[in-house]
Subunit: 255 residues, 3 copies
């Protein structure tokens, strides 16, 4: 149904548009992830900003092309920043993504994630434990599709296989490498790349799969150069920066 | 008294248990150190978490197997997070380590460190200047042993030589490399590795020396690959990730 | 007017003094930049500290040799920390640098930057968009000179060409590499190196150009080793750490 070469071309087109248009992505993310997320966005050709100051969140979001909302290092200041950012994004019609990090470990985070998911994010990106907590359902392609349809959003359920669904259209991406799980903020950085893609591709489902496909392929290339998770983290940024259409076409594994 | 091969085997066993059990280490640490500390724990096979939000610190510490308390970037929010975390750790019987960063530069930090050390941490990890400030004594093996015995804790006095003492048992580890002093948060990351070891080894003295021995040997391996402190920081994570029993046995230098 | 070899020697002398004297640089900077800034200072031979806690900012600045004030991630706590730090620096006669990051995106930041620039910083370091916002003038060498003279400060206007002027003396440095623009906090780290130089060289104009010259040359060396912006970030730290007089003399491009 989805020819890999066709989707590889979509991913390559999206990457090319990010490099050309340099979209601004405003990131509300945890302090652990800020540096790696900013560097991943810069490597892709996007322009990150990161402030969560109440006096500034308005102008920064107003000047952005997409917004990342990550719940890691969740505190009062960040919660208030998120509320302002989401209101501003809705007002301006900007796409925003919610990444409900570690909600299975914190009831306060899970509760807030539910409020956010009801506020019409373009994409919800989460792993299996987070999906199970959020949906109260098992984490598989079918329940992800149901959840996406019910909430009129895209669900990107990440893991060994990444599932991207809008309820009607679903795809499974089998790229990536185990070292991606050994670098902190790797998932957050991938979610930021989805935001950059949302800024240049209005079909949210295509934007999401394009970004995750490129991210997974970059992970495979990085693993070939790396001597362990430390060098892998840098190699991943190098690989995304240099990623080309031919490599995407030869490596993409979707079903 | 301590055959290097015997202790190298202890260190290798502790590393193997961390990789197998993936202990959760909750880290209250400064924003400068968060990313490097998280990546070091992941490379060792542990699972880091980092939140300091008052609403969340309880559930995160309750779900952890060990707790790191680092005083770098000391502020009101972190002070309150530390107090909650220490109370919860005591309640749950979790081992916790205090790393009184830069107390020689700040009376407020030194005062708070004294309160913490009186609250029964499993381990106090500090450098010579910090030890002198905390103890009011000179920084050597004898005074470290006295301090450890008096406070019923383990003292890990780090420097060119790392001394680990519980008052009765003391050991000096001569591994490591000068480049370790040129990477920010290296000591914090080493302290986090001690926490991961405490989660899988109930003899706190053995856990501490195992972690510091592995860390020092990883530093030597990393220096062989590095072109300076930038590549060394990544190589250190690679080296810890790949560290094996044979290398520990051939390289450990203790007395 | 400025023989490259003469200025290369100045830069080499300044680097040598930083390595010898290990000046303490207290940095009030954003959480995105803290780790990279600290590692750059350590690689140069300086000693970074980073706290912004109101209880501690006084003793830390009092014990420092120079102060970095960066407006990235601008919030109330940081604003208050900056005000305390600037007052203490004035009191102690310490050089301080202001880096008005992203003021073109936030009126609150721009307003605060104007107050700071009126408080007699040793150096103002900014890019073209930031200069235009701050000065209300176009960003070129002449208006930078006017601004520097009018505010009795050094202006370091960075870009493909770095301009350093005190109003009477001006220089353009043509070193550097495009990859420097693809790593977050690279400019912040360069500003921190200027602070380390200010701590060991009382001619603020020479200190600033020495630091930016060394930084640009390090960028060129790093680009030769890098496979993309990820490996470049680490290679830049390696290159600054190993930078020698001969390389500065053969590579410096000034006019």
């Amino acid at each position: 149904m989805h020819a890999p070469i066709e989707l590889a071309n979509v991913a390559a087109d999206v990457l090319a548009r990010i490099r050309e248009r340099a979209p601004r992505v405003h990131c509300i993310t945890n302090s652990v992830a800020q540096q790696y997320t900013a560097n991943m966005l810069l490597a892709a050709g996007a322009v990150p900003s990161m402030t969560i100051s109440p006096d500034e969140i308005g102008p920064f979001v107003a000047g952005a092309n997409a917004v990342l909302v990550n719940l890691g290092t969740f505190d009062r200041e960040r919660k208030s920043a998120i509320e302002s950012a989401v209101a501003m994004a809705a007002d301006k019609g900007l796409p925003w993504l919610v990444d409900p990090v570690f909600i299975e470990r914190s009831p306060a985070r899970a509760e807030f994630a539910r409020v956010l998911v009801a506020s019409h994010p373009a994409v919800v990106r989460l792993n299996h434990a987070e999906f199970a907590t959020l949906s109260g359902d098992k984490a598989d392609g079918e329940s992800a599709a149901r959840f996406a349809e019910g909430h009129a959003t895209i669900v990107a359920l990440t893991g060994d296989i990444d599932t991207v669904t809008d309820g009607r259209r679903g795809i499974a991406i089998a790229n990536g490498h185990p070292l991606m799980g050994m670098v902190t903020a790797m998932g957050c950085a991938g979610a930021a790349l989805v935001c950059a893609a949302l800024a240049v591709e209005s079909d949210r489902w295509l934007a999401t799969l394009a970004a995750l496909a490129a991210f997974g392929v970059a992970g495979e290339l990085a693993a070939q150069r790396a001597h362990g998770p430390g060098s892998f983290a840098a190699a991943m940024i190098d690989a995304l920066h240099g990623l080309d259409r031919g490599t995407l076409r030869s490596r993409l594994k979707v079903s």
